[in-house]
Symmetry: C2
Subunit: 232 residues, 2 copies
Amino acid sequence: MSQASKKSATKATTTLADQVLTKIQTAIIKGDLPHGTKINEQELAATYGISRGPLREAISRLESQKLIERIPHVGARVVSLDINELVDLFKVREVLEGMAARLAAENMTDQDITELTALLEKHEQSEQLQQGESYYQDEGDLDFHYLIITGSKNKTLINTLTIDLYHIIRMYRFQCSAETTRPKKAFKEHRRIIEAIQSRDGELAELLMKRHISAARINTEQRLTALSSVEQ
Amino acid sequence: MSQASKKSATKATTTLADQVLTKIQTAIIKGDLPHGTKINEQELAATYGISRGPLREAISRLESQKLIERIPHVGARVVSLDINELVDLFKVREVLEGMAARLAAENMTDQDITELTALLEKHEQSEQLQQGESYYQDEGDLDFHYLIITGSKNKTLINTLTIDLYHIIRMYRFQCSAETTRPKKAFKEHRRIIEAIQSRDGELAELLMKRHISAARINTEQRLTALSSVEQ
DNA sequence: TAACTGTACATTGTTGACAATCACTATGGA
DNA sequence: TCCATAGTGATTGTCAACAATGTACAGTTA
């Protein structure tokens, strides 16, 4: 009965601002709203068929997710990726997700770990199926990291990573198709991390996660510096 | 002198939402709006003499600063401190500020370090003057940490610590007068951290900062568990 | 008495109009 | 030609009224 009242929560009883928020989120992440795009309030409001009120609410949240930047009386823009800032982000990720892996090894329940291994096996299959296609692998990789983050059971850590930092990471990944060059390596690294968590070796899990992200960072740096030198 | 510019900026050409934001911030941090207080929009709007529009904007930002929590169609409440969550926060701080100290040792300019040592000496004087008074010491401690955080020159790290996490830390400190019991110890720890940064020893700076925050956490845990057992 | 139901009230979500501010252009002067 | 400045248009900030939702209370029924 209480479920009957809440079953409609699927999409019926959310607020307008929430609905539009997710739409704009995906638009930014997928690149439909490219970096640096000026956000015109009444234009966007008209696009989504809502008033400026809820739109501004959505913009406010997007700002807290670092997906857009706002200047008073001037307006909002989709955040633009600077290589140095991206490297900074990776370094913070390295530390925080390393911590998450350590805590996950300590605090995950056995069932949590079971789910994690199941996810890994699912990746193994899909990876064999679509070798070059990095799209799903990327989303799967995010799921992997997400499970470990939540497995840490540290609320501040979870919020910081999933709310404050991860949206912009998703954006970057989607638009740069980050892991295309090293999917097999990344997959092996995932497996080792899980093994460390299974054996409740927090220290090792932290070390491996740090290396995993560090490798991704270096890979990214090389790609982007090469890219920017071509542009010039 | 940065505080002087900050003061004038408050009333110059900021938006209404901004002005009210800072007012509510301090109200929450100082405890004028106690933990768990329901936030009534039109009531607060009337209090500050503004409309509900800018007030909702301010609430939105307070939410992103973790000072209040919101439920759609129900309302907003001032966040209430749970001991476990506070410990979680400290642990994340430990890792991130440790990282900040390491990066500060690597990236701070000589002038940055000069300012840092000047701050320390200022603390030394004021500490001798007002032994028991923890008020200023707390704010000074925050300045110390703030300088090191910004000294890391890592934008993501700076934003995460100063915007996403530090407001709630300030709230806790102010209301629980955290460091009253160990001001001298804390001061010595500060000095050693600075020495490590001066000698550009990032590893040592990180270690010392982690210990410094860890000690504060343990101190806090003991105080709060004692407090809660008394309440029961 | 306890639980359920429906109604009335209070609060939040949404809207469109109005005011304040900024960016751009053109005009004038040096 | 260049710079400064004032005017114009567009955009954001603010407001007050309206709609939708949740909450509390009263009344009814088992």
